[in-house]
């Protein structure tokens, strides 16, 4: 069997699931809680002033998690934090981010932000899109990554 179960035969161009995005007020406190479920940090925390966030990836028994907390004065995560929404996006890698964005928009998705370089991914480009069902997903550019 050669098919990669993490690569879906989707309409946007062979997306590979990467992580769940969590909005939190404190990465450290959230990480402590998720340690109960077997999660542990994957590398060091990062700061992305362009997005107004500080983040930390966790790995464990379930899907990879990206914890994100707002930098002082940043409102990036306010809509979710105010409503108590924790998991607010799914992220997928794509080798053709520009094409994936075009296909997503053709299918009714709206570009929320990007594409722009992200500190979390060694300055690879990311974009956030929203489907009409109000499901938000992130595309992470993998073009040029040595794999």
């Amino acid at each position: 069997m050669s098919a990669d179960p993490q690569v879906a035969p989707d309409a946007l161009g062979q997306l590979r699931f990467h992580h769940l995005g969590f909005a939190t007020r404190s990465c450290e406190r959230e990480a402590e809680t998720l340690a109960l479920l077997g999660y542990a940090p994957e590398g060091e925390a990062f700061i992305d002033p362009g997005q107004g966030i500080r983040g930390l990836f966790l790995v464990g028994g379930g899907p990879r998690i990206e914890l994100l907390e707002p930098l002082r004065g940043a409102k990036t995560l306010d809509p979710w934090l105010r409503k108590g929404i924790k998991i607010y996006h799914h992220a997928y890698e794509t080798p053709t981010i520009d094409e994936s964005i075009v296909r997503a928009r053709d299918a009714g998705a709206r570009l929320v932000s990007g594409p722009r370089e992200a500190v979390a991914f060694d300055h690879m480009r990311v974009a956030f899109l929203m489907l009409p069902s109000m499901y938000m997903f992130e595309l992470v550019d993998t073009a040029g990554r040595g794999e």
């Binding site: 306010d78 809509p79 105010r82 709206r110 570009l111 929203m130 109000m134």
Partner: protein
């Protein structure tokens, strides 16, 4: 006898649905500051709801910059066929 529903009435119904608040009564001067919860997420929800109601598409960038009911109505007038 049924009367045609005005654009203002249709928009007002959308705002009440999106913000789950039947007391909302919008006017052209209503801005993001006037309605609790009118943040970036709600703004996108408004856009999808307006597009669905009026069977049309609004440009992402222009709608993102529309911070009042009057500006949204202007966009509607420009893009409704």
């Amino acid at each position: 006898m049924r009367y045609p529903v005005s654009t203002d009435d249709r928009l007002n119904r959308i705002f009440r649905d999106v913000f789950a608040d039947d007391s909302i009564s919008i006017e052209d001067a209503t801005t993001t500051e006037d309605i609790e919860g009118w943040d970036s997420l709600a703004h996108i929800n408004l856009m999808f709801s307006i597009e669905d109601e009026f069977s049309m598409k609004l440009p992402d960038e222009e709608f993102a910059g529309a911070g009042s009911v009057g500006e949204i109505k202007r966009l509607l007038e420009e893009h409704v066929g």
